[in-house]
């Protein structure tokens, strides 16, 4: 019997203690890191916006051939070298139609382009497939551009 009474008193005391410390607990909960603070930002890696591209002639033949092999792995599935559209537009004449900066950003920064560039948006309306981010580095994008120039007949 006395055991039960002690237990009961202990519970009452605990309950009382819990009430008085409720505010403290709330303060503590507020101070503890929130989910948003701990959330790790995980942006897509598209590289930063490219503002200028230097073109030189003659073409760097090494870049052309590296660009071609990257094209064969990552781009060929959707882009032909003729003007035929498959999923994306064919590449024939692309370097005559588009600025080098536009092409480079389309490769490495496609989300930004689809958000801000009217020409890119127009192409999405035609193709209806967002161009995939193929995780191409700026350096590799430059080599692809060199290959496109070669495809358009530049020497």
């Amino acid at each position: 019997m006395s055991g039960k009474a002690t237990l009961f008193t202990a519970f009452l005391l605990l309950a009382f203690f819990a009430c008085t410390s409720k505010k403290e607990a709330e303060e503590k909960a507020k101070k503890s890191p929130t989910a948003s603070e701990l959330a790790i930002p995980q942006p897509e890696v598209h590289g930063t916006e490219i503002k200028s591209v230097e073109l030189t002639n003659p073409l760097k033949s090494e870049w052309v051939s590296t660009g071609k092999s990257i094209y064969e792995t990552k781009c060929l599935a959707c882009h032909k070298l003729t003007d035929e559209r498959v999923v994306g537009p064919g590449w024939a004449g692309v370097t005559k139609k588009r600025q080098p900066v536009w092409i480079m950003n389309m490769i490495t920064n496609v989300d930004m382009m689809l958000e801000t560039d009217a020409e890119a948006q127009k192409m999405l309306e035609e193709c209806l497939v967002r161009m995939p981010n193929q995780n191409v580095s700026e350096e590799d994008a430059r080599k692809i551009l060199e290959f496109m120039r070669s495809n358009d007949g530049e020497k």
Partner: protein, 666 residues
């Protein structure tokens, strides 16, 4: 004697709930348990992330699931020991070897315990380990890819239950046999009468070494033990670093009606194993080589392919010869959980049928060993004196104590299966300070970082066996239930119920900040070394090797290459090796064939997976992608033509060829 104890136990069982149901102790009914601000404490706003990953065993579904805490949202189910048609785990040619064992292909297991890798006794966010209870195995899951990378079978074991708990620096994972059984060292299971249990049945615990860099496992050594049943285990830490502790039941050595026959004695054992000493003995060549057969399966992230190797030898240590590697500690009564506090000094063992929680002191244990303070031997192994090693008992804590975790602030949290509650108690003073009901019949419980040197505290999560009335009914079977309690204040507060898959046993929770930044988003196509990869459409092709037709296929939004294949014949085995050319996060492609006696495969960006298809009839069969990622998803399809055996249709393939003009159009 036996009868008197049973009567006492029943009396205790009947009076305790009355004592425990005093006002202020339990709410009147389940709905009054949650306070008003609970919802805001578990609410994770859209776009925000949870604070913890909860890695949860899948119980009898053989898998592992990943939840966010505090939201309770389910993020992923990771296939481990069980076939998973969603991803093709165990169906694709690359993953079939992962489920190989000495018994052949075993497509299911029973997972119980999660162990996250630690360095210096703290979570390092590298790997999750989980046991296969039925066909003894341990699996290692990468926390970068959330995929199973390795599975090792445990020889000389039946029912791998006390597993895969890890030492402080993840040097070893342990595997204690739940069922003792007749062993010999001739690679066979001796055919003996079950009634010869006491003579012929033996137990083992295995120490599975873990490579520091790769995580690769190997069965380093085993300890041969009396035929008791091993239940759970925990490593020592800090001062007890060199030791591992296991709970044992059935010291009665019974083989039938264990619920009665293994509950005869007042005390079973906690077994203390000095693994450092074992290691020395193995190095010194004191172990005996035993002939066994077990499978070791490793998945290579670069070839995206698993390989299975059968191994045939294991080193066994015998504590009857090596007297200072194993000691028994008497422990009341059928101990289940065996948990070491963050300091490494206290070992809490929970006798399922005991009315106390005994807490043992590691330093007293060392003194008792040094003084040879033994009460006798059990099957040749020294038994320490209970009083000499006891720190103290928590008196009348509740009914059916199972498992204990710690908050790092000097408190322990023990789950009580029979009285359905979590009881918080002071480790030093051995006094109960708080209790909350669980709904219902809690098994394991998990405090984030609870089994480490530095618990992260904040929450305790209950994994309950019974879900009655908590959710909308779904026939006779209900989902399993977990419950989240806030332990940041002095009193535990129920915040959330969330359903779980399978029957979760143990789980660990780890801060998201230790895992998320290392998460793999894609597999780099340049690094894909699969023997049948097609790195780009230019490499896509189809070729024949006898009756095997290999299709090196690529997939990208929104087509396959090739998508028209002809020249497959009846009797051919077709292997579709599909490479996903995407290099964009969260763009897997699926691949399915009509009528295949197989699953789909789901190919991650940059990965190659192989689906085997043996056509059972002639005709034209569609293939298509099952995972929706673009507006032209439905168009991602193709055809395979199957001709009769002996027909002369040549093997051809194409993508983008226009259909032949019909007769009229000519």
């Amino acid at each position: 004697m036996k009868h008197r104890h049973l009567v006492l136990f029943i009396t205790a069982a009947l009076t305790l709930p009355v004592l425990l149901s005093s006002p202020g102790c339990k709410p009147q009914n389940p709905t009054s348990a949650v306070e008003g601000d609970a919802a805001s404490k578990v609410y994770v706003a859209p776009g925000k992330h949870d604070e913890f990953y909860n890695i949860v065993s899948g119980g009898f579904n053989g898998q592992v699931s990943v939840y966010g805490i505090p939201s309770g949202r389910l993020f992923r189910i990771i296939p481990v020991f069980s076939l998973n048609p969603e991803s093709g785990w165990g169906f694709s040619e690359e993953t079939k070897p992962m489920l190989n064992t000495s018994h052949g292909f075993v497509p299911w297991d029973d997972t119980h315990h999660i162990a996250l890798s630690t360095t210096n006794g703290e979570h390092d966010g590298r790997w999750a380990f989980v046991n296969g209870n039925n066909t003894p195995r341990i699996a290692r899951i990468s926390l970068a890819t959330f995929r199973t990378e390795e599975i090792i079978e445990i020889p000389n074991s039946s029912g791998n239950h006390s597993s895969p708990f890890l030492t402080e620096n993840s040097e070893y994972a342990v595997a204690g046999t739940r069922f003792s059984y007749p062993l010999d060292d001739k690679e066979s299971n001796p055919d003996v009468p079950i009634s010869t249990y006491k003579q012929n049945f033996k137990g083992t615990v295995s120490f599975v070494g873990i490579d520091k860099e790769t995580g690769h496992m190997n069965v380093a050594f085993q300890v041969l033990l009396p035929g008791v049943n091993f239940d759970l285990a925990r490593c020592g830490r800090g001062p007890s670093h060199d030791w591992f502790f296991f709970s044992c039941y059935n010291t009665e050595l019974a083989s039938t009606l264990l619920e009665v026959n293994a509950s005869q004695k007042d005390k079973d054992f906690v077994m203390a194993v000095n693994w450092k000493k074992c290691e020395e003995y193995v190095k010194a060549g004191k172990g005996k080589k035993s002939k066994v057969r077990y499978a070791h399966n490793v998945f290579d992230e670069k070839t995206h392919t698993g390989t299975s190797t059968i191994k045939d030898e294991v080193v066994v240590l015998d504590p009857n010869e090596l007297k200072d590697i194993v000691y028994f500690v008497p422990c009341p009564k059928s101990p289940h959980g065996c948990d070491v506090d963050p300091s490494g000094e206290f070992i809490c063992a929970s006798g399922k049928l005991a009315a106390v929680i005994p807490v043992f002191s590691f330093s007293k244990m060392q003194k008792a060993i040094a003084d040879k303070n033994f009460e006798g031997e059990f099957e040749g192994i020294p038994v320490l004196k209970y009083d000499a090693v006891l720190h103290g008992e928590v008196k009348k804590p509740g009914l059916g104590p199972l498992h204990t975790e710690f908050d790092g602030k000097g408190f322990a949290y023990t789950s009580f299966f029979v009285s359905s509650e979590i009881v918080k108690w002071d480790i030093e003073k051995l006094e109960v300070v708080d209790r909350v009901p669980t709904y219902y019949s809690i098994g394991h419980l998990s405090v984030p970082g609870g089994p480490t040197r530095k618990p992260h505290g904040k929450y305790v999560i209950a994994y309950n066996k019974i879900t009655k009335d908590r959710y909308l009914p779904t026939g006779p079977e209900l989902t399993q239930s977990a419950q989240l309690y806030d332990i940041s204040g002095d009193k535990m507060k129920l915040l959330l119920d969330f359903p779980t898959t399978g029957e979760p046993h143990y789980a660990e929770a780890i801060p998201a900040s230790l895992v998320a930044p290392k998460s793999v988003k894609i597999f780099k196509i340049e690094e894909n070394n699969h023997p049948y990869v097609a790195k780009g459409e230019k490499e896509a092709r189809v070729f024949r090797e006898g009756n095997k037709v290999h299709v090196l296929m690529t997939s990208i939004r929104s087509h396959f290459t090739p998508d028209n294949i002809e020249g497959v014949k009846m009797g051919d085995e077709v292997y579709f090796h599909v490479t996903n050319l995407e290099q964009d996060w969260d763009v897997p492609h699926g691949f399915a064939v009509k009528g295949a006696n197989n699953a789909e495969i789901l190919i991650m960006p940059g990965e190659t997976c192989t689906l085997k298809w043996v056509p059972d009839r002639t005709g034209v069969f569609p293939i298509y992608c099952t995972d929706f990622c673009s507006a032209l998803h439905q168009e991602m399809q193709g055809y395979v033509r199957v001709s009769p055996r002996g027909s002369n249709v040549p093997l051809t393939y194409s993508t983008g060829n226009k259909a032949e003009p019909t007769g009229e159009a000519k």
